[in-house]
């Protein structure tokens, strides 16, 4: 990148403006061209300074973050990264913001003195760089601007052993892609889905709740001991690892606080590895949009174990990092665009096909 990424920081706290600016100053490819203390100033500065990326706090006086975001996406089409508070309300607002067109979010920096900061900084910097390359309104398959489609849930869902266990790994660009894919699945989807989405602690619960509202299948933040059942997706909570385990009376997920893998917790590799070990050919691995290569190795393990492995196609990814890593290593048996993923999964999980594979 020859030119530096021009960033505008919008936050009502002077401290946060300074902190975020100082974080970004450390990266020579990024330039903070300005800061604004509320939405109205933010919009004005966008006009003046023409930044490439905006970081936005959602909780602000005068014009609040949500309204600011609407105006930015409508009038300027600049990618926005939401800087979000660690609260239930904060998470809720964050997902609303993502639905309104915010590209991504980071957790509000905490504890400037600790090593924790390093992570947040790396996260923010990488997301800004990704955002700079993204054109808002690019021909990605994204849900409608207001994605709150009516969830057509079945009135009664019998507890059924799933035909397949679908393990999904996803990172940057994930929330929207995942929402798109899961909301396309039918209510009687016969597979069970386990998802690792790289996301900070405190956001996954709201994320799962939101997905549950707009999907025909059930979506739930995973708890240790939750059962793998047909027609349900379990989302791994932030800052935990998730594994699957076969138990005498059913199959469950187990959460743990083990060390980070590939710099991530949750790590896609951890999930994929356990699915490969416990379910073998009954598993399906899906590696979707995201930076880095978490999950690529695990996808290889799944392939070796006889499971079907799928990578999201480049043109439908916000960031073609993780899928690319898997494809390059030859671990992806199929490369499927986002809008075809749900179909592919439905077909692969159908009882007939599952039975046929079981016979082979």
């Amino acid at each position: 990148m020859s030119e530096r990424v021009r960033v505008l920081v919008v936050d009502d706290s002077a401290l946060m403006r300074k902190l975020i600016s100082q974080i970004l100053v450390r990266d020579s490819d990024i330039e903070v061209v300005g800061t604004a203390m509320d939405g109205a100033f933010g919009l004005k500065k966008i006009e003046e300074l023409a930044p490439q990326v905006v970081t936005l706090d959602l909780e602000m006086p005068r014009m609040d973050g949500m309204e600011t975001l609407r105006q930015i996406t409508r009038r300027f089409r600049i990618p926005v990264i939401v800087v979000s508070a660690h609260t239930t309300d904060g998470a809720s607002a964050t997902f609303k913001a993502l639905a309104l067109g915010a590209l991504d979010f980071v957790a509000k920096p905490r504890d400037a003195a600790s090593a924790h900061m390093e992570e947040i900084a790396a996260d923010l910097i990488s997301k800004i760089k990704v955002a700079a390359k993204t054109r808002v309104g690019q021909s990605q398959v994204l849900p409608n601007e207001e994605p709150t489609r009516t969830a057509n849930k079945p009135a009664y869902r019998p507890r059924q052993e799933p035909t397949k266990v679908v393990a999904v790994g996803v990172s940057t660009g994930g929330p929207m892609a995942l929402q798109y894919m899961l909301s396309e699945l039918p209510g009687d989807f016969p597979g069970s889905i386990v998802v690792v989405q790289h996301m900070p602690e405190g956001f996954t619960e709201m994320f799962a709740r939101r997905l549950n509202e707009c999907c025909a299948i059930d979506v739930k933040e995973a708890q240790s001991g939750d059962l793998l059942i047909a027609g349900r997706a379990l989302i791994c909570p932030g800052n935990r690892h998730m594994k699957v385990r076969r138990m005498p009376m059913g199959n469950i997920v187990v959460l743990s606080d083990d060390a980070r893998v590939n710099g991530h917790r949750p790590s896609v590799d951890v999930l994929f590895r356990s699915v490969a070990a416990e379910f073998g050919s009954r598993g399906i691995g899906v590696l979707m949009t995201g930076m880095g290569d978490d999950g690529a190795f695990g996808l290889g393990l799944l392939k070796t174990a006889g499971a079907l492995t799928i990578a999201q196609s480049e043109e439908s990814c916000v960031v073609f990092g993780m899928p690319k890593a898997a494809i390059e290593r030859g671990y992806a048996m199929r490369v499927v665009p986002l809008d075809m993923l749900s179909n592919t999964l439905t077909i692969q999980c159908s009882p007939e096909r599952a039975a046929r594979i079981a016979q082979v």
Binding site: D12, K18, K96, A113, S114, P158, E213, M249
Partner: protein, 739 residues
């Protein structure tokens, strides 16, 4: 390894403290506002936002305790709660402001932050609303067992029930001083296994910690409840026990997923109206609207301000959540153009540096002025004269403007100081059980920031005093024919080159006799002198250190030191303080301070060989006199000026200069509400002086408050009038004693 360099980190911390102080001030104001309008949802939203920002900022700086407390507070401050709770929210907010503030100062001093236990409890008590559901388990036991079994554990338990076994939920609380929790845990496990088949236990080995208090377990057994309870009471390990039989609804259709769904539905119901109420600013649901209605027609009766999240598990047609697009952008546009962002944070030192240079410029200006004057005299016919004069006039205008502009940078509205007093008055009034209102005016009067900062303490003292001592108790007031509610008034206004700040109360006034009696008791004045003191001299006794008319010392005031502080600070500021009091009507303190400390208008005069200056603001008039006009009364030299008797101060005596000449000038100075005459030899003129602080090592006297340099290089000493007068008093006393 820290992420930021030390310098960066401390810069951030500074910024944090600065903005946190501001936030706390806001919190105080919002708390007071909330006290006036309890339950106003808009104010609660403001409080929430303030606390939210404080939380985020303190978390960013790693101040965990503060951030957590703020978080707790933020969580309970919902619009919903504003309705249900009463005035106590305001109290909690104010307590929070205090707690946060003491935490801040602890952080600032690198000390352990106070725990804020009181606040935490207050928050808890706010948060405790009647919870109809899921609170039932605890029952008569202190033990709060949740028995939150996972889906798998549920399934296992159901399975056992299905096979006709009895399932019990058991919770143990460990004895507080039970050592070795790990071993105790093993003991519990053994007992449980004796009782039956262990289906589930929390915590299991993997999550066992040392500070573990409660163990929850589920067993399938053939024994009855009594037997199990007996078995499980392990002496000196288990302090309390809860055993309850676990019954699932018999028919098999009640499966886990339904429970899950039920729970999430409940959650959604619980949370959604709340979120919505926060989004839609004003109208809270009309009383008849139950959450059910909300669910059926989301936001039907409300202006749609935010996009309501899909709320229900029930599919229901929702209106597209759109913005009222027509109105908002227009509003935003006008907002945009009208308020430009013009705030700059500048280090005070930098401004001082500029101010210093401007000071030098002013000296330069008067040098130039003198040279031009000389040139004038020497070449009165030279046409160049006019050119010089024009250039001079132009230059001095610019310099004047420049000086004013720089001074303005340092100027801040008095409001910054005043805004903390509503809280002070409220607290003091509350603690001494009085009803007092504070009326403020003139908040937009500008004053030099450094002066303002120094005035904070004296003003706080005067305000506290006014409430605690000045204002009488309500019955006393009513007896005196006054309204029960006392009034304290704060006012600020310009008077020439000075700012006057008035602190007035409509209370009992200062009791002259009591004051004099105390003063005599403490040997401050002689009993004989007591009656001859003028009223203003008498009231001025309150400034004497250690003198207090309060009968008891309270936490708020009464030690008699406060007034001394007031006086000392004002003297340091080259200001004055005076009192007006009338018994039964009230007391007014007038603080007069110069607009700024750096540049003053001064009157220059000569005594002997030296040039001195006094601030022009304190000069009332100048009179001429001959030695014949001066009389001696009670060892004081006095001069009759029109109808007044003026006490004279001979600077020549103080400065040990020979008194010169027969004719002299009397510079009449006001000091508080008293007047004095300074006897000087010759007047020099009026000049703007740039005050240079004097090193204490150079000048070992408090008679001089500063020095300045004139255009011709002459050094001028600026007299500290207050100490000259008190010195004069002492000299006379000595003379009186020897005579």
């Amino acid at each position: 390894m820290s992420f930021f360099s030390d310098e960066r980190a401390s810069e951030l911390r500074e910024l944090f403290f600065e903005s946190a102080t501001e936030l706390l001030q806001n919190l105080n104001e919002e708390g007071l506002e909330l006290e006036k309008h309890p339950g106003d949802p808009e104010i609660i939203r403001q409080v929430r936002r303030t606390v939210h920002t404080l939380k985020g900022d303190s978390a960013a700086c790693g101040y965990q305790e503060l951030s957590e407390l703020a978080h707790q507070l933020e969580d309970v401050l919902t619009a919903e709660m504003a309705e249900s709770a009463n005035g106590s929210i305001a109290d909690v907010v104010l307590i929070a402001a205090d707690t946060f503030s003491s935490m801040l100062s602890a952080y600032r001093g690198n000390m352990q932050a106070p725990a804020g236990e009181e606040l935490r409890q207050q928050i808890m008590s706010l948060a405790q609303k009647p919870v109809p559901t899921n609170g039932g388990n605890g029952g008569p036991y202190k033990l709060h067992a949740r028995f939150a079994w996972s889906e798998y554990e549920h399934m296992v338990m159901e399975d056992a029930l299905g096979r006709g076994e009895t399932v019990f939920n058991i919770a143990f609380a460990f004895e507080q001083n039970c050592p070795m929790r790990g071993a105790a845990m093993q003991l519990v496990r053994n007992v449980l296994q004796e009782c039956g088949r262990l289906l589930a236990i929390v915590p299991d080995q993997s999550t066992l910690t040392n500070d573990l208090d409660v163990v929850e377990a589920a067993i399938a057994t053939a024994h009855d409840q009594e037997w199990i309870e007996k078995k499980c009471r392990i002496p000196s390990v288990v302090s309390s026990l809860l055993v309850e039989q676990c019954v699932f609804n018999g028919d098999g259709s009640d499966d886990v997923l339904d429970i899950v769904k039920h729970v999430t539905a409940e959650l959604v119901e619980d949370v959604e109206p709340q979120i919505r109420a926060e989004e839609i600013i004003a109208p809270v649901a009309p009383p008849s609207t139950t959450p059910k209605n909300f669910q059926n027609g989301p936001g039907s009766g409300h202006p749609q301000n935010g996009a309501p999240a899909a709320a229900t598990t029930q599919p229901s047609p929702k209106p597209p959540a759109s913005v009222p697009a027509a109105a908002v952008p227009a509003e935003a546009q006008t907002g945009l153009s009208s308020i430009p962002e013009t705030l700059l944070r500048v280090d005070a030192e930098r401004i001082d540096a500029v101010l210093n240079l401007v000071g030098e410029l002013i000296i330069g200006k008067s040098m130039m002025h003198q040279s031009v004057n000389e040139f004038d005299k020497r070449f009165p016919k030279d046409p160049l004269r006019m050119k010089f004069a024009d250039a001079m006039a132009f230059q001095s205008r610019i310099i004047n403007d420049l000086q004013k502009s720089v001074m303005k940078i340092r100027m801040v509205p008095v409001e910054q100081l005043f805004r903390r007093f509503p809280r002070v008055v409220r607290d003091v009034a509350k603690s001494c059980g009085k009803d007092v209102t504070l009326v403020m005016s003139g908040q937009d009067t500008d004053l030099d920031k450094s002066i303002l900062d120094m005035l904070a303490e004296p003003l706080a003292h005067l305000v506290r005093n006014a409430v605690d001592h000045g204002i009488e108790s309500a019955p006393e007031r009513i007896n005196g024919g006054k309204p029960a509610q006392g009034t304290v008034r704060l006012d600020a206004y310009h008077q020439g080159n000075q700012i006057v700040i008035e602190v007035a109360d409509d209370g009992r006034g200062i009791d002259r006799d009591k004051l004099l009696r105390k003063a005599v008791e403490q040997g401050i004045i002689k009993a004989a002198d007591a009656q001859s003191l003028s009223d203003s001299d008498a009231s001025n006794l309150v400034f004497h250190p250690g003198l207090s008319t309060a009968e008891q010392v309270t936490a708020i005031s009464g030690r008699g030191m406060g007034m001394d502080i007031v006086k000392t600070v004002l003297e340091r500021l080259k200001g004055t303080v005076s009192i007006r009091t009338s018994p039964g009507k009230g007391t007014t303190f007038l603080l007069k301070v110069p607009l700024t400390l750096a540049i003053i208008k001064a009157l220059l005069f000569r005594v002997g060989q030296r040039t001195y200056a006094v601030p022009l603001a304190s000069v009332i008039e100048i009179a001429r006199a001959t030695p014949n006009d001066i009389h001696v009364v009670d060892h004081h030299d006095v001069l009759q000026l029109r109808h007044e008797i003026l006490t004279l101060v001979h600077l020549s005596k103080i400065a040990n200069q020979p008194a010169a000449g027969k004719r002299m000038f009397i510079v009449v100075i006001s000091m508080g509400d008293r007047k004095f005459g300074l006897v000087v030899d010759r007047l020099v003129g009026e000049e703007e002086l740039v005050i240079k602080a004097l090193d204490d090592n150079l000048v070992a006297t408090d008679l001089v408050s500063g020095a300045s340099i004139l255009g011709d290089g002459t050094v001028v000493l600026i007299l500290n009038i207050a100490s000259i007068i008190s010195r004069m008093g002492r000299m006379h006393k000595m003379i009186g004693a020897t005579a």
